[in-house]
């Protein structure tokens, strides 16, 4: 069976959309020389023309706003921000305009725009080239926020985002571009029907992630299995609007929860996951206090040793899970065996 890599999956989604939908176009910086978006956009301009794959001046706000405006006129634009950090310049177009036009105009306007932001960190890039700000967008009603983990999701959820009538912030992570899985044909899906799903069954603890943190959770689950701990992993996929039911069902079974996020804790995704679960569970279900694994409350450093200390690792996730399960429970389980 052939394999599909995450970065290729994203490119296949662009090709699929540009080939089949005349009202799709792409706008953003670097699109005619996409060297800093991995292989995720290679040669799109050559294949589909520079009228539909538009490289732009360094104007995040006007370009994102222009995409919102075009989306009000029957187009389905995709705006590309090669680094999420630069999206702070376009917040008005996303938060005040795209997110609000449907509701504040009585459902008469639908900005069907997809805003792709890429998390691109590591390599000593530091404070302004490393951020993962998905929680900011997830806070705002009216936006759908998509964080794919698997290569097929990276492809199919990008297609679903663009075909959705709502504004979507789609965030992919360069640390996943080489990740592979078995290929399957592109499936056009309704984004409204896509939500968190269990990607590994387990019994002792639920690990929840999205995008790269799902990858950490799955690796941690492997590691935990070697210690006799059975971890279930839930991949969130769509963090806004968040449907916590799959996580709640999982925690009802495992009674333990670790929420992992590649951003900060305060008012963040990991905290939201925990709150969404806890408020839906009866008292006494949880066998241990839930835990968060996130970035420390500091900007990204540059120096390599500090960088290594900064980002959550598989070990961190596994340790948090072991902390939930507890030494006594582990020892007891050892005796049973």
């Amino acid at each position: 069976m052939s394999r599909l890599a995450y970065g290729d999956g994203i490119r296949h989604a662009f090709e699929h959309l540009l080939e089949r939908y005349a009202n799709v176009f792409v706008i953003g910086q670097g699109l005619w020389s996409p060297w800093y978006v991995g292989n995720s956009m290679t040669d799109l301009d050559k294949r589909f023309g520079r009228e539909r794959v538009i490289d732009t001046p360094v104007s995040e706000l006007a370009c994102t706003g222009a995409a919102v405006g075009a989306s009000l006129c029957g187009y389905r634009p995709i705006v590309v921000h090669p680094r999420v950090d630069f999206m702070l310049y376009c917040m008005d177009a996303v938060v005040n305009q795209a997110a609000k036009w449907s509701h504040m105009l009585g459902g008469q306007a639908h900005p069907a725009v997809t805003i792709r932001g890429i998390v691109n960190r590591g390599g000593e890039q530091g404070a302004q080239h490393s951020q993962a700000l998905h929680a900011w967008f997830a806070h705002v009603p009216g936006l759908r926020v998509v964080l794919p983990y698997s290569p097929r999701d990276a492809r199919d959820l990008l297609v679903a985002s663009v075909l959705c009538d709502d504004p979507v912030v789609y965030v992919d992570d360069r640390w996943l571009y080489g990740l592979e899985e078995d290929a399957a044909p592109i499936a056009e899906r309704d984004l409204r029907e896509i939500g968190p799903r269990v990607v590994r069954d387990g019994a002792d603890v639920t690990l929840v992630g999205a995008s790269y943190s799902t990858h950490l959770c799955l690796q941690a689950a492997e590691m935990l299995a070697r210690s006799g701990v059975s971890a279930e992993v839930v991949d969130l996929r769509v963090i806004a609007p968040l449907d916590p039911s799959a996580v709640v069902a999982s925690v009802r079974k495992t009674r333990r929860l670790v929420a992992v996020d590649g951003s900060w804790s305060t008012c963040g995704l990991a905290g939201e996951v925990i709150a969404s679960v806890v408020e839906r569970l009866e008292p006494g279900v949880l066998a241990a206090a839930p835990a968060r694994v996130t970035l420390p409350a500091a900007s990204a450093p540059t120096s390599k040793p500090l960088e290594d200390a900064y980002y959550p690792t598989v070990d961190d996730v596994a340790a948090a899970a072991l902390g939930r399960v507890g030494a006594r429970a582990l020892a007891a389980r050892g005796r049973q065996r």
Partner: protein, 350 residues
């Protein structure tokens, strides 16, 4: 010294001097029937806004209402050259933009009252107006918020290839936002068909333009971005119309964006109905002077002088319009509010 020379070059001079341009408009070459229709449209805008202002005072209108009384000629002169497939974007002071495209009177009055029969189904109020069938894509109160959107609507129009254009209305204050400069650059670079319209009423909230910018004329930014620009008396519907026609025709013909700076003055405060004092600034001396440069009266005087209108006809137009607005107001008052369930509807497309 260079700065002094540049400042002088971008002075609005007599265009910003309310002791000038008080005489009847020069209407030679214009169609009197069309001018009469424009006069009626300006009177409708004025009377409707006066009513909204009165109802703010009375406590019936509770949303922020930014009135453009005194600025009616700008949108009316421009809209003459627009068609329903064009894409017009407004800002916080957009009643006139809506009306000038033929927007429904009942629907806007219901909207400022928060009624479900409003043009935004009671979800927008005065600051979020919508009438896409007539080309009004929307207005928002974030200063310069819609300018990039209009640029994108122009890109869409160019892709459609039907000769449609976009229009971005904004004020002199919005020209201080980076969004405008990015938008001018983008539209000019790619030649997208958008008409940037600055209603330069000399004030942004409480601050006069001289306290906010090193020069008065906002059209200097068009020059910096190589965009064809016109600067006109915004209280002269004939001058606005003539300049707009040239720029609109050029945009439709694929010659790229245009920039129209219409110098005008709002008679009421930044927000709300008061004339005497505006967010802490007393403008009563200037205002009395600017009222003598009334865009409605100057057009009426010209039509009377040309024999196209009886001397008492303007009073009649005002009278009929008031009756029409009162009747519409009663209907708006009788209309229902949105049901509570509307609060959570339409957050996403249904």
């Amino acid at each position: 010294m260079a700065s002094e020379i540049l400042r002088a070059r971008y002075r609005l001079a007599e265009l910003a001097d309310p002791s000038r341009f008080r005489e009847p408009l020069d209407i030679r070459g214009a169609d009197p029937q069309r001018l009469l229709a424009q006069l009626r449209q300006m009177v409708l805008i004025r009377v409707a806004e006066e009513k909204i202002g009165d109802m703010v005072t009375a406590g019936a209108v509770r949303c922020p209402a930014h009135l453009g009384i005194g600025q009616e000629a700008v949108a009316v002169g421009i809209s003459e050259h627009l068609r329903p497939t064009d894409r017009v974007f407004g800002a916080h002071r957009s009643h006139s933009h809506y009306f000038a495209l033929g927007g429904d009177l009942d629907a806007i009055l219901a909207e400022v009252l928060g009624k479900v029969t409003g043009c935004s189904r009671g979800m927008g109020g005065s600051m979020h107006l919508f009438d896409q069938p007539r080309g009004f894509y929307g207005s928002v109160p974030i200063v310069a918020g819609t300018v990039p959107l209009a640029v994108g609507a122009a890109l869409a129009a160019k892709m459609d290839g039907n000769g449609d254009i976009a229009v971005a209305y904004f004020g002199d204050g919005a020209a201080e936002e980076g969004a405008v400069h990015e938008s001018l650059n983008l539209a000019s670079l790619f030649g997208w068909p958008v008409l940037f319209v600055v209603e330069n009423n000399l004030f942004s909230s409480h601050l006069h333009v001289s306290l906010r910018q090193p020069a008065e004329s906002v059209a200097r930014f068009a020059q910096a971005h190589c965009i064809d620009a016109e600067v006109v008396d915004g209280n002269d519907v004939v001058a606005v119309s003539r300049a707009a026609k040239r720029l609109v025709d050029a945009a439709r013909a694929g010659k790229g964006p245009g920039f129209l700076e219409a110098v005008t003055y709002r008679w009421r405060g930044h927000v709300g109905p008061r004339e005497d004092i505006d967010v802490g600034v007393n403008r009563s001396v200037d205002l009395a002077s600017w009222k003598k440069r009334d865009p409605v009266r100057r057009l009426a005087d010209a039509l009377v002088a040309a024999g196209a209108m009886r001397p008492d006809e303007l009073d009649g137009v005002y009278g009929e319009t008031r009756e029409r607005v009162e009747a519409a107001w009663r209907r708006a008052e009788a209309a229902p509010y949105p049901a509570d369930a509307e609060l959570l509807r339409c957050v996403y497309a249904e």
